[in-house]
Structure formats: structure tokens, C-alpha cells
């Protein structure tokens, strides 16, 4: 019996070795100078939200470039300097030429590793530090939020829209403001009611926050949260919803209208192509709808009549550069004109947003 066991193990070993050789042979046959792209994820690839969106981008890039690139990734990498450096060393060992780190907290580790491996290129999502061989990248999500605001503003009958938001940081505040400006552009009476959950991901809290807003008379929901719980609350209350990150028509068919989406593939493809061509630079990337990194999901039948046309019209203006979301005049909650007619906000101003525009109902907690 013992002998059989050993024989069995030996067979498995031979089989794995054969398989290993087979895959090696395949990739070697592709191209001699195959580029290796490494991806560091903060969550699992199947989180159905943020990391899924990044992973879809990786797969898209791989599909487009075929044999010219091989990608490797590591899930659930904590936002801890030492861990990030360790993962990067492993990836460089495996031949990585460019490494993408997808979460804000990966920044310090990435910058440290960039100094250690000057021949490797690094890119960090949502951060602000750069080095000779390290850059950062993010998307102008506010553009798609503005468009989703148009849909919500046309849909609401009570003129009260719920917005379940994670943390009072500039990224989230910018999204709320853009959404509100979009909603007000089609419905000047609209109010956007904000609730902070202080978590990116906690389905039960998100739902409780949404329920509070729905009880107060909101009939459309929007969210800066990673789960579908807000939309589930909307569906139960007979209200309608705007999602985030990924399309959710399957999950909440009776509420889902559309969602602002990330299409990281567009950026990953360009960045890896630049590495292949040798044209890669450390210029930070903040792409918008014109580059396809951001989009609004196709609208479902629940979207209000005429919304698709209106959105298409504004989208075309955003893409052509004729219109920008934060063009003056923009008023704050107190009704003061903060951005004058004819002016528009600079990127620095947008990256440091700490006030709400007129039409938002809610406070920004001072602790942040």
C-alpha cells in the first residue's frame, strides 16, 4: 500500500513537471523579449468591485498585446511598506519590467522599491509621489459621476437624491460635487443628501445608511461604496439607483439604471505599450473619458426618457474638451460664488476639494 502511495506521488510529480515544461515552452516560443507586467492588488480579484475592475483591466491589456506580454499578480497585499517591498522583490525575481500597485497605501513601499530596482518601471494608483522610474495614475471619475448625476436628476420625482459615501476625502467629495452639478444641470431644485459610512466596504452599514436616506424621502440613490447594498435598499423601497465600479444590472434588476465605471484596461494597455516601445516616462497620468479610462455604463430601461440623449450630448462635449465639469460659476453650500464665471478649477484645486457645492445637503466632518 505504501509503495502505491509513493508511486502515485511520483506520477504526480512527473505530470506536474511535464506540464510545467509545456507552459514554459509555450511562453518562450512567443517572443524573445517578452515584457512582464506585475499587478499588486489590495483585495481579492473577485471582490465584485474595485479590484475586479483593475483585474479586468489587466486581462484586457493581456488580451490586446498577446504574446508580447506576460502578467503576474498578487492579491490581498496589505497597505504595509514591508509587505509591498517583499511582493515587489518577488515580482522582479520573476522578471517584471513594470509593476502597478493599485491602492493608495501601497505608495511608500513602491517608492522604496523603485530606488532598489532602477531598471524596473513602477506605477502607483491614486497616490502623489513619483521617482525617476516611478509614476502615479488615476482617473477623472468625476466626469462620469457628472453624467450619472444627469440621469439621477431627471429620474427623481421628490427632488431628493440619496448619496451614500465612504470617507470625507477629496476624491469622494469631488465625486459628490460633480454628481450634484450634473443633477442640478437638468433639475435645478434637486437636493443631494449625503451620509458618511466611514468604510469602503461594509454591506450592512451601507444598507442602513441608504435606508435612513430613503426614509427621508429620497427616491434615487447613488454611492461611493464598493458593495451593492445601497442599491438593494433602493430596490426594496421601490426607488432607483446609480451604482459604482461595475455594472450591477444582474444583482438589482428593479433598481439599477447605470453606473460610473473604471476601464483600467485603457491605461494598462498604453503604459505597457510604452514600456515595450521604450517611450515610457514618469509623467503622472490622470485620464478622463477622452482616453476611455472612465465611462458611464450603458443605461437600463429604468433610466428616464431622454437621459441617454442628454448624456451622450454632454459626454461628447467633455470628450472634445468643450466642457469641463468644474467650470464656473460654481457656488458653495452658503451660496457664495467660489469659482467665477469663465474660470474653471485647476487639477490641484480638484485634488484638494474640501467643500460642497450648492445643492448638497450634509456636512464634511471636521476631523478629516
Amino acid at each position: 500500500m505504501k509503495k502505491f502511495g509513493i508511486l502515485f506521488l511520483a506520477l504526480i510529480m512527473v505530470a506536474t513537471m511535464a506540464l510545467g515544461c509545456a507552459t514554459d515552452g509555450e511562453s518562450d516560443g512567443g517572443s524573445e523579449e517578452q515584457i512582464v507586467a506585475g499587478f499588486i492588488y489590495v483585495g481579492p480579484t473577485n471582490d465584485g468591485g474595485y479590484t475586479t475592475a483593475h483585474d479586468n483591466g489587466r486581462l484586457y491589456m493581456e488580451e490586446q498585446l498577446g504574446d508580447a506580454v506576460r502578467s503576474i499578480y498578487k492579491e490581498n497585499v496589505p497597505e504595509d511598506k514591508g509587505e509591498v517591498v517583499k511582493v515587489i522583490r518577488e515580482m522582479v525575481d520573476q522578471g517584471a519590467n513594470i509593476i502597478f500597485a493599485t491602492s493608495f497605501g501601497h505608495m511608500d513601499g513602491l517608492i522604496e522599491a523603485a530606488a532598489e530596482f532602477p531598471e524596473v518601471k513602477f506605477a502607483h494608483c491614486s497616490g502623489y509621489q513619483t521617482a525617476e522610474n516611478a509614476t502615479n495614475y488615476f482617473g477623472r471619475m468625476y466626469q462620469a459621476r457628472y453624467l450619472s448625476g444627469i440621469v439621477a436628476g431627471m429620474k427623481t420625482e421628490t427632488d431628493k437624491i440619496a448619496y451614500v459615501a465612504a470617507f470625507p476625502i477629496p476624491e469622494v467629495i469631488r465625486g459628490i460635487n460633480a454628481f450634484t452639478l450634473g443633477a442640478k444641470s437638468v433639475n435645478p431644485d434637486v437636493e443631494v443628501h449625503v451620509r458618511w459610512t466611514n468604510t469602503w466596504y461594509d454591506p450592512a452599514s451601507e444598507k442602513a445608511a441608504a435606508e435612513a436616506l430613503l426614509d427621508e424621502g429620497c427616491d434615487v440613490t447613488a454611492q461611493h461604496q464598493d458593495s451593492t447594498a445601497t442599491m438593494v435598499a433602493a430596490e426594496e423601497a421601490g426607488a432607483y439607483s446609480i451604482g459604482y465600479n461595475v455594472s450591477s444590472e444582474e444583482a438589482v434588476p428593479k433598481a439599477y439604471m447605470t453606473a460610473p465605471l473604471w476601464n483600467w484596461g485603457a491605461y494598462y494597455l498604453t503604459a505597457v505599450e510604452q514600456v515595450i516601445d521604450g517611450t515610457w516616462t514618469n509623467t503622472p497620468y490622470w485620464g478622463g473619458m477622452d482616453e476611455g479610462v472612465i465611462s458611464l455604463d450603458e443605461m437600463t430601461e429604468l433610466a428616464p426618457q431622454g437621459a441617454a440623449e442628454k448624456v451622450a450630448e454632454v459626454e461628447a462635449k467633455i470628450i472634445s474638451g468643450e466642457f469641463d465639469v468644474f467650470n464656473g460659476p460654481i457656488y458653495n453650500q452658503a451660496g457664495e460664488e467660489v469659482v467665477n464665471e469663465g474660470d474653471s478649477m485647476t487639477d490641484e484645486e480638484m485634488l484638494g476639494f474640501d467643500w460642497f457645492v450648492q445643492g448638497v445637503v450634509g456636512d464634511i466632518p471636521e476631523s478629516n
Partner: protein, 310 residues
């Protein structure tokens, strides 16, 4: 603020806590501190969802959830009762295991929605007659069947614990296992039975979240509710009736922040999030000051029972 709709939401938020807390009270009453609540809740939540998704049968989904919680509890029971292992460590391990199990099984269900007939079975329904009572009816009797089931569990288990021979025996096992053993009670059998009961109730508590509250599968759907339930057991001083008040109080604190934000009170949300734990500490302090016999932890809690050592 609409008070009735808020209180109705409080009952909803408190229900998963109530199931887990009452289950844990019984586990602790026989002397077994099971810190694996969070794990068992997640096991129940994901199994209930998977079974409900696969079979489209709400009853099977609920049984699956209870069974999953019991299997988690069985592992814990075998290690702590039969092998007399350390209860804290085993419980923590169970939490880690259950979290991993839920991620693993749930990974193929992320974003999927339960079939219509399952969600309908667990949707809010008006309880006949009782829902007509003004205010009370709106708050307590326009809820999911699982909420009604939680009321029934509390009443049944409360009577069992305080009014029957079995209740007396199980309390004796927790207070003084040697005496219970000497009087002919099978200590192991009682311990196994109530630890498994605790597991089943935790599983159902988790399943309330995935079957009734948010019937779309989400990673880590419990988000720490199992730990709150551990604190709640102390808050309720091991009394299933007080657990009802405690669960709704903690559930209410969990969601009141979202209702208060409207009024722009100068209280940071973090303070409100802290309240359940502050309340638990206060209860512990009060209990040790009063030192009443009823309001203390079962004496043998946390210790394995060795017959040879009595």
C-alpha cells in the same frame, strides 16, 4: 426623523445579533466560551446563500445555514470538550477558518442575487392580527419571517433555561460540572448539545444577513457582528430575555449614526460607533460592583472539565 421606521430598522439590525447572542449564551451557560461566532455566522451566511441559490428552496437554505454553523461548532466542541483543548484559541481559529471558508465558497457568488422565491420567502410580511396593533405592530410585526422566528427562539429557549429540568441541568453543567456529573448528568452530552445549538443559531444569524437583509452575496457580509455578539453576551448578563433588549440597543447604535447625521450634531461618528463597547464595559463594571449571584458568568466558563480532577 421618522421614529417608527427607525425602530423597525432597529429590530432588523438587531436580529442577526440576537440569534448569535442567544446561541452564545447557551454555549457559555454550559461553560464553553466560543469566540468563533464571527466564523460560524459567516459559514451560515455563505452556506445559506449557496444552498438558496442552488436549490431555490428557502427552507433548505435555512437548514443549510444552521447545519453549517453546527459543523463549525462541532469542530470546536470536539477540540474543547472531547480533547479538552483551549477554548479561546479554538474559538479564534474557528473565526479565521469560517472567514476563509466563506470567502472561498462565496467567491463564485459575488454579486449574484438569490432566486425570487427565496427572497420573497424572507421578505417583510405583516404578521396576522398582531400587525394591526398601532405602533407596536408597525415596529415588531411587519418584518421577515426570520425575525418572527427569533422571537419564538427567545421565548422557547428562555422557558427551557429557567422553567424546566433541562434548563436547571444545563446551568449546573456550566456552574459546577463536577456536581452535575456526580448527580448523573452527562456533562459532555449537555456541552455538545448546547455548543451545537449555539452554532446553529449563529449560522441562522449570519443567514439572516445573506438571505433576508442583503440577498446579494457580498464578501465578509457580517463585518464584525460576531464580535459584537460576544460583547452582547456580557451586556445581557447571560440572560436570553435581556439579550433581546441588548441586541436591539446595539443594533440601534449601529444605525442611529446615519439618522443623526441629518441634524449635523457636533458628535463625531466615531464616538457613536464606540458606544456599544463603552456600554459593555460599563455593564462589566456594574456587575463586578454589585456582585449579585444571578448576574455573573457561569463559574466553569473557559475551563475544560476533567472528571479525574474533581
Amino acid at each position: 426623523m421618522n421614529v417608527i421606521s427607525f425602530l423597525s430598522a432597529v429590530v432588523q439590525a438587531g436580529t442577526p445579533l440576537l440569534f448569535a447572542t442567544v446561541g452564545e449564551i447557551f454555549s457559555q451557560k454550559v461553560g464553553n466560551l466560543n469566540l468563533g461566532l464571527e466564523g460560524m455566522m459567516l459559514m451560515g451566511a455563505v452556506t445559506g446563500f449557496a444552498v438558496g441559490y442552488g436549490s431555490a428552496n428557502p427552507i433548505l437554505a435555512l437548514l443549510g445555514a444552521a447545519l453549517a454553523g453546527m459543523i463549525g461548532a462541532l469542530v470546536y466542541a470536539f477540540i474543547t470538550i472531547t480533547l479538552k483543548g483551549n477554548q479561546e484559541v479554538t474559538g479564534l481559529t474557528l473565526t479565521i477558518f469560517g472567514t476563509g471558508y466563506a470567502s472561498f465558497v462565496g467567491s463564485s457568488y459575488v454579486g449574484y442575487k438569490l432566486p425570487e422565491n427565496v427572497t420573497e420567502a424572507f421578505a417583510k410580511v405583516s404578521f396576522p392580527v398582531l400587525s394591526e396593533i398601532p405602533v407596536i405592530g408597525d415596529i415588531f410585526f411587519k418584518q421577515s419571517v426570520l425575525v418572527y422566528f427569533s422571537y419564538a427562539c427567545v421565548v422557547f429557549l428562555g422557558i427551557l433555561l429557567y422553567k424546566t429540568k433541562y434548563g436547571l441541568n444545563l446551568r449546573m453543567v456550566g456552574e459546577n460540572p463536577a456536581a452535575a456529573d456526580a448527580s448523573g448528568i452527562s456533562v459532555s452530552r449537555y456541552k455538545y448539545f448546547y455548543v451545537l445549538l449555539g452554532g446553529a443559531m449563529s449560522g441562522i444569524g449570519g443567514a439572516f444577513l445573506s438571505l433576508a437583509y442583503i440577498p446579494v452575496w457580498q464578501e465578509n457580509i457580517t463585518a464584525g457582528k460576531g464580535w459584537i455578539a460576544v460583547a452582547l453576551v456580557i451586556f445581557a448578563v447571560w440572560n436570553p430575555y435581556r439579550a433581546v433588549a441588548g441586541a436591539y440597543f446595539f443594533g440601534g447604535l449601529d444605525i442611529i449614526g446615519f439618522r443623526l447625521q441629518k441634524f449635523s450634531l457636533p458628535i463625531p461618528i466615531y464616538i457613536i460607533n464606540m458606544l456599544p463597547y463603552v456600554a459593555t464595559i460599563l455593564v462589566l463594571v456594574l456587575m463586578s460592583i454589585r456582585k449579585s449571584k444571578e448576574n455573573k458568568a457561569p463559574s466553569s466558563i473557559g475551563r475544560a472539565y476533567f472528571r479525574e480532577e474533581r
